[in-house]
């Protein structure tokens, strides 16, 4: 029930500007949201999307500009006021109370009561109605949120927003931590919201996904709105060009490299959190892509390989010698390096400096007479900051201040700095901007050229297909199929990941790594 172009927009932002110190985060931004539409907000990290959404939610007061909801001036005094005006945020980091049940979470702050006594019956009824609206009536009301999957948690968040009678929903990277199936279901929910007359502002780095779910889009670049239009009939390349402000000749640069002799051989590896033993092997200069749904055993395999999860059986052979120790430090010593899928929680210590984060796994070169020399450490880090084109004030800056893409480059630089020869990369491009993505693809290629072995886990099929030499698919804890990348396409990968076997698209031909 999208209204025609003539109807007044639900939300209008005009001339909104906001500066933080010397940085202009938003510069004369205009934005219109119609009733019952899904509007994609697109831009690189640091383009101003999150500041714009903070202004909308009331968390940040703009320096200039006007906002209207339903034609009436909207000047939120804070996030609570924004919520009362019908603006709800579904954040990347979910904001649910893990120990409380589904019912309690959905009703949080909106409890139905009589004189302070909870009216459980009517609350349960309302929650059930709302879950019906988001097409998940099967969710149990009395289960603590902490026991549900990420996808289910998100559904609960959306239900909470609906119960609050929110009319504008902001979804910030809603699929970044979802498995394929859950993403599909989320799209259905979003489409359902449109029918309820709810408008959705949809922020995502996955452009294909945006193309499927959004009606219109607005592109932000360097704090300005540089373009807007209807999704239908707009080519992705055109949007990318708006985002980066220049022609992207090749999003996934192809780096020539040759595959050498095997360097990592895993036989019957069984980790504590793995459903079944896994065997695989990777050669020098080979990029082995690993596809699969979340929970299919991809991450669990990498973690067992690296000694982060307890190993219950199997052998791991690196360069002809079996690995003995159990702990991660023994793996690092043998040349393994792991890039965590959870950049903020595990990958980086956010309140430590770039220099510390980058060199933490190998501080030996900066020691003189037993004492650590911070100046040397910073110099060593500065070198990598330059090589990976990390945008930062300097090596002493806190990692937490950097954008997602630059944070990820620090995490990758750590593995390069510790001179790893086998790279275990778990979702290395999750939640980062297009340009950083492209740089990371190039680095992966360069690593292969230098004869490193790379295991590359990703949920984003185009990058798996574009970067890998070989792709293995995981399904329910087991490696179900490996083929040269050229013998896969998105459809067959998806099929193998979701049902465990793939139709033979074409006879697998050994791909010359050229």
């Amino acid at each position: 029930m999208t209204d025609g172009p003539g109807a007044p927009p639900v939300l209008r932002m005009a001339g909104v500007s906001k500066s933080f110190g010397a940085t202009r985060a938003l510069d004369d931004v205009s934005f219109e949201l119609r009733r019952g539409e899904v509007h994609a907000l697109i831009g690189e990290n640091g383009a101003g999307k999150s500041t714009m959404m903070k202004v909308l939610s009331g968390a940040v007061v703009p320096d200039a500009g006007r906002m209207e909801i339903d034609g009436r001036p909207y000047v939120p005094s804070g996030p609570l006021d924004g919520l009362r005006s019908g603006v709800a945020m579904i954040y990347q980091e979910l904001t649910l109370a893990p120990h409380m049940t589904v019912e309690e979470n959905v009703c949080l702050g909106r409890e139905v009561h009589a004189g302070g006594w909870l009216d459980r019956e009517s609350m349960r009824r309302k929650v059930r109605e709302t879950l019906e609206l988001v097409r998940h009536p099967e969710l149990p009301l009395d289960v603590p949120i902490g026991r549900l999957s990420v996808g289910a948690k998100q559904v609960v968040e959306i239900a909470r927003a609906l119960l609050n009678k929110s009319r504008i929903l902001v979804m910030d990277e809603p699929t970044s931590s979802l498995a394929l199936e859950d993403s599909q279901r989320l799209f259905e929910i979003v489409r359902g919201l449109k029918d309820q007359g709810v408008s959705v502002i949809y922020i995502s780095h996955f452009l294909e996904e945006v193309q499927r779910v959004a009606d219109r889009f607005t592109v932000l670049r360097d704090g300005r709105s540089v373009g807007a239009g209807t999704m239908a009939g707009t080519r992705l390349e055109a949007i990318i060009q708006l985002m980066v402000g220049r022609e992207l000749t090749e999003l996934i640069p192809r780096v020539e490299h040759a595959v050498g002799e095997p360097v990592l051989a895993v036989d019957g590896l069984k980790g504590r959190r793995m459903a079944a033993p896994v065997s695989l092997s990777v050669a020098k200069g080979e990029i082995l892509g690993i596809a699969g749904l979340i929970g299919s055993g991809r991450t669990e395999t990498l973690r067992a390989l690296f000694g982060l999860d307890e190993v219950e059986g199997g052998t791991i052979v690196v360069s002809g010698a079996a690995l003995r120790g159990r702990a991660p430090w023994t793996r690092i010593r043998r040349g393994l390096g792991l890039l965590s899928e959870d950049r903020q929680g595990e990958g980086l210590a956010l309140n430590l400096s770039i220099a510390d984060n980058l060199t933490l796994s190998d501080l030996a070169p900066y020691r003189r007479l037993g004492l650590l020399r911070p100046a040397l450490q910073r110099r060593g880090a500065a070198d990598w900051i330059g090589r990976l084109q990390i945008k930062a004030r300097g090596p002493a800056q806190k990692v937490g201040d950097l954008s997602g893409g630059n944070q990820q480059k620090v995490a990758l630089a750590r593995l390069l700095h510790q001179k790893a020869s086998v790279f275990l990369l778990d979702e290395p491009t999750r939640g980062i901007d297009v340009v950083s993505k492209s740089q990371i693809y190039e680095w992966i290629g360069l690593l292969a050229r230098e004869g490193k072995a790379v295991l590359f886990v990703s949920s984003y099929l185009p990058e798996l297909l574009g970067v890998s030499d070989t792709i293995a698919v995981f399904h329910r804890g087991a490696r179900v199929e490996s083929r040269p990348a050229a013998a896969w396409d998105a459809a067959s990968l998806m099929a193998a990941a979701t049902v465990g076997r793939a139709p033979r698209a074409e006879p697998p031909s050994p791909r010359s790594a050229a």
Binding site: W329, G347, R367, G370
Partner: protein, 323 residues
């Protein structure tokens, strides 16, 4: 103000912030006519320093633990137990040096037990050390036969003497011991790999593990080191009291933790400094000293110190937000 200058200013504030608090406390009492004459004397400063020794030694170890993201509630019980062991040894005819080492080793063993339990059983430090608080206190009473252990005077009792012999020492030997260990630990924290690893474990343990840091080993070492300092503190307690008293220092662990927190330590881990902690110890000692001179009752001191803790941590948070 340019961002660079602002960064430098906030850096300076970080460094001098605790000093300013200490100077304020000293200035406060120095301005009160009734006490200023007695308060500002070197002899008084000397006695404040001596009174600080026991908390200061405990706080040195506690700083390491808190930076690593842990807590030690058994510190005070450990001090009491170690003082009992030292007294017991002297009483049994051991050489003073042997008694001193036995006291320190006792503290170290308790710390080692804390660290091993935290890492092996994967229990929260709060619970492990809460249990150890009772165990160490009970063990002390048991060994002492539920009374004080008298011991003959030895040179150990000179360690906390207000007027040190030889007099060119100026300060009690115990004070010098604190100063030496504070310098050593400050350097170790700032510029050894071990120090960096303590910060990393406290800042984000998962990251530390990912980077190949042996997080369990770091934690065991930290608790064991802190235990050694509690043991030394216990020996100082014995030196001061000249008896081994298992009921001494009840609740002192909270003073120790307060000193670390006033000095900028964060109970979430990853933050804290030896210099800050030492200033935190001095702030509390000077307050006690000044209040006593004013003739204010004990409860006034308690209220003031309680308020100082809250104010100090609030200021710390504000400073962080500005960054």
């Amino acid at each position: 103000m340019s961002p660079k200058r602002r960064a430098r200013l906030s850096q300076a504030l970080n460094f001098f912030g605790p000093f300013i608090g200490l100077l304020l406390v000293i200035a406060l009492f120095a301005l009160i006519p009734e006490v200023q004459g007695r308060f500002l004397r070197f002899a008084n400063f000397k006695s404040v320093a001596t009174q600080s020794v026991i908390v200061a030694l405990g706080a040195l170890g506690m700083t390491l633990i808190i930076i690593s993201g842990g807590i030690d509630l058994s510190a005070a019980s450990n001090i009491a137990l170690s003082s009992v062991i030292a007294a017991y040894a002297v009483n049994a005819g051991a050489a003073p040096l042997v008694a001193l080492l036995l006291g320190v080793a006792t503290g170290g063993l308790v710390g080692l037990a804390n660290g091993s339990l935290v890492t092996r059983l994967r229990l929260v430090p709060f619970i492990v050390t809460l249990g150890m608080m009772g165990i160490a206190r009970g063990a002390g009473k048991w060994i002492a036969g539920n009374q004080k252990i008298d011991a003959p005077m030895t040179w150990i009792n000179d360690l906390m003497a207000k007027s040190p012999r030889p007099s060119w020492l100026l300060l009690a030997p115990g004070v010098w011991i604190v100063i030496v260990f504070a310098v050593v630990l400050a350097v170790a924290l700032r510029s050894t790999v071990f120090g960096r690893h303590i910060f990393a474990v406290g800042s984000n343990e998962a990251t530390a593990r990912l980077c190949g840091i042996r997080t369990d080993r770091v934690k065991v070492l930290v608790y064991a080191l802190a235990g050694l300092f509690c043991g030394l503190s216990g020996v100082m307690e014995f030196s001061r009291l000249t008896v081994g008293d298992p009921t001494v220092a009840v609740g002192l662990e909270l003073d120790i933790i307060a000193a670390v927190v006033i000095g900028g330590g964060s109970l979430n881990g990853g933050e804290g400094s030896i210099l800050g902690t030492m200033i935190g110890v001095l702030i509390m000692s000077f307050l006690r000293n000044g209040c006593t001179m004013m003739g204010w009752p004990n409860y006034i001191q308690e209220i003031i110190i309680g308020a100082i803790i809250v104010v100090a941590v609030t200021l710390d948070r504000l400073r962080h937000r500005k960054e």
